[in-house]
């Protein structure tokens, strides 16, 4: 409860939350405001924004409504951001918790694997995965999640390392708890706050990764995503720059909102660190 109060005391955190709510509202209202398929032809190609009341944000080079694509794109970005983050955090917590709790050779093996993943540049690995498994929405989401888990894993491991020797964990052991009870019931709730905060970073990066993939036209072309729109706009970038700029702003706002919320969560969950 205190954490919620502290969160709403920070203006930046509240602004971030409002922006995020706007993006969520866009995603929710897309089907209702734009009942037609956003990828269907709607009018003349390359209408400038604000010049035709039917197409408030103009049309792209094949004559599709940009506003509709932005609204539907919010769905895709949030979906990929959310699901990929969940996958990354889940793998990360699992690997980090076991490595940190058991130490010794378990830790050695798991951390060497983590490092192997970390030494490969994220994006190159993502390209390889998409090249091998194809670029449907599902594979792209899973691929983004799979390349993002090493950092949460290391963070969870560090928390577990410092928590596992605390007296309350030893007390749990003397009460006769199983390892899994100690990990899930005693240590994890105490290790979670920094990992939750880090999840916001993972989410922002996941949205950017998908956009970068779409910009290279390697994401799923059958869905309306912001990255796809930027990729399309590349051909007319010098004159009709708005085709790329509008989805660019949408990405900027979403990533900013997620980061502000993350920072706000950090300050709210670790109040003692804030004044430094």
């Amino acid at each position: 409860m205190d954490a919620i109060k502290r969160y709403f005391r920070s203006p930046a955190a509240v602004a971030g939350l409002l922006l995020l709510l706007v993006v969520i509202a866009m995603a929710v209202s897309a089907g209702f405001l734009y009942p037609r398929d956003p990828l269907a032809l709607a009018g003349r190609p390359l209408i400038w924004p604000f010049s035709n009341p039917r197409f408030l944000l103009g049309t792209d080079n094949s004559g599709r409504d940009i506003a509709a694509q932005i609204f539907y794109g919010a769905r895709i970005s949030l979906l990929i951001g959310g699901v990929a983050t969940a996958i990354a955090i889940l793998i990360g917590i699992l690997v980090g918790a076991f490595a940190g709790f058991y130490g010794g050779w378990v830790d050695n093996v798991l951390m060497r694997i983590t490092e192997a993943f970390q030494t490969l540049p994220n994006f190159v690995l993502l390209l390889v995965l998409v090249a091998v498994f194809g670029s449907t929405l599902t594979t792209v989401t899973i691929a983004v999640g799979v390349v993002s888990w090493p950092a949460p894993a290391r963070l969870t491991r560090a928390e577990f390392l410092s928590l596992r020797s605390r007296e309350f964990v030893q007390a749990g052991r003397t009460l006769g708890m199983r390892d899994i009870q100690l990990i899930l019931g005693e240590i994890l709730p105490n290790a979670l706050p920094p990992v939750i905060v880090y999840a916001s970073v993972v989410m922002a990066v996941a949205i950017l990764l998908e956009s970068a993939l779409a910009f290279l036209r390697l994401s799923d072309p059958n869905v309306s995503s912001w990255g796809n729109l930027i990729g399309l706009g590349r051909d007319v970038l010098r004159v009709q720059w708005y085709v790329s700029a509008i989805p660019g702003i949408a990405i900027l706002v979403t990533v900013l909102a997620v980061s502000l919320v993350g920072q706000g969560l950090n300050d709210a969950l670790n109040p003692r660190l804030k004044s430094r």
Binding site: R166, F168, G172, R173, T174, L175, G176, M177, E186
Partner: protein, 544 residues
Amino acid sequence: MSDAETILSLEHLSVSLPKGADRPQALSDVSLSIASNEILCVVGESGSGKSMMANAIMRLLPNEVGIDNGRMLFEGRDLCAASVAEMRQIRGAGIAMIFQEPMTALNPLRTIGDQIAEMFTIHTDLSKAEIGAKVLALLEDVRIPDPKRAAKAYPHELSGGQRQRAMIAMALALDPKLLIADEPTTALDVTTQAQILKLIRDLQQRKKTAVLFITHDFGVVAEIADRVVVMQHGLIVEQGAVAQVLNDPQHAYTRQLIAAVPPLKAPAPRLLSGKNILTISGVSKTYRTGGFLGRGARVTHAVREVSLNLPRGSTLGIVGESGSGKSTLARCIVRLIDPDSGSILLEGKDWAKLSRENVRRETRHIQMVFQDPFASLNPRRKAAELVAQGPIVHGTPRATALAEAKELFALVGLDPSSADRFPHEFSGGQRQRIGLARALALKPDVLIADEPVSALDVSVQAQVLKLLAELRQRLGLSIVFITHDLRVAAQICDLVAVMKDGAVVEQGLAGEVFGNPQHPYTQALLASIPGGDFTRKRDAAGLV
């Protein structure tokens, strides 16, 4: 001492705390004075504002805490009005300070000699050679063994006592008029504490320094003070000459604090059962660290060949200084650590050889209470849940376990209606009671208590010890009580074993070990107890 000049006087000093603190002022209307060549002890329990006072004098208060009233006259100058630059001149040269934990107060990356020399390079313009000579002289002054080597050593290479000596050398480098010592011996072992107290006394007399000595321990006061100031909740409740305050305390709180200093004599021996519930024989634990292919490996014998008996219904005290292996032994008994050899017989079963899974199943026979009441309770669970956890793990339905937890709350002297609160809403003593209730929830036969009262204030200590003694009687518990404090052991233990370097050097009935110690180490421990003379005199007077 009336002709000595006053070095520092606080006049009606008030320090306010930020909003939302447990009281509006850390210090309210504090007036005192210290003359040269005297030791003024400030005594109080945690939260009494005694450390805040030291920080206020040094003007080292946290940002949100401010001095809002009063004056602090140091050699005629008001420190409240001094500028930041002036304060820098005064700190170190005029007023020096030593802290509780020398390891955190020293820079781990620089040698001791370097850090002492820094005092001279900042405040004087002596040449390098002169500074070097001065550093050595200082280290000799504080009687560090082999000063030349100590000057080249890094903090981690010295023992706790040596580090505190180095801190004192640094503090006295520039012959300050006033030395503030904030609990300088609290983190040290008794024997080291006695040496450091003697050193501070000697140096103070030789250099005619004024010393403001902050402590929570009336034993230390009896040992070192000329005058005493007693603080409670930010107020001075009593001040006067040491003999007067100790022998004829006026304020009720002072009387309570002095009464809480435990007597040195063991209580009359109780009749012990002839049957042993726990028999430890030949238990050893060795740690090997580092070293590749056996080179440079370090071997530590944490526990060697310890054999002890615990008669049913009695309390066995294991006494020793830090590093004596007493905590390792405790953890071997509950199998948090696996012993290398030996046997631990509990009701005919050898605990040392049980498999992990069997230990888990049998664990309700033997439970542990931990030292730190802040670290030993999971901060994210409610008090009732913490207590109910054990029975739930062993198959008691959740609702039943929670109901029983409330009964246990009453048993350990807590309000059952507070069971829904989180640990941080309880005081240190209350948390230790929760820890005790958690251990008792499994109805153990043997309770291992690892320094259960060391982190508590004296008056709270007495209450928790009384509770333990009561529970032992009522539930027929057998207790292994681990402590570094002989005074605490004397109060509750029937039998005592003294440990040094992993081995038991002496064991027997508490009255015999304390009354007629055989081993030189036990004798040294007993002689080092601060305020020993005072307590003995008081105990003798009480018996008449």
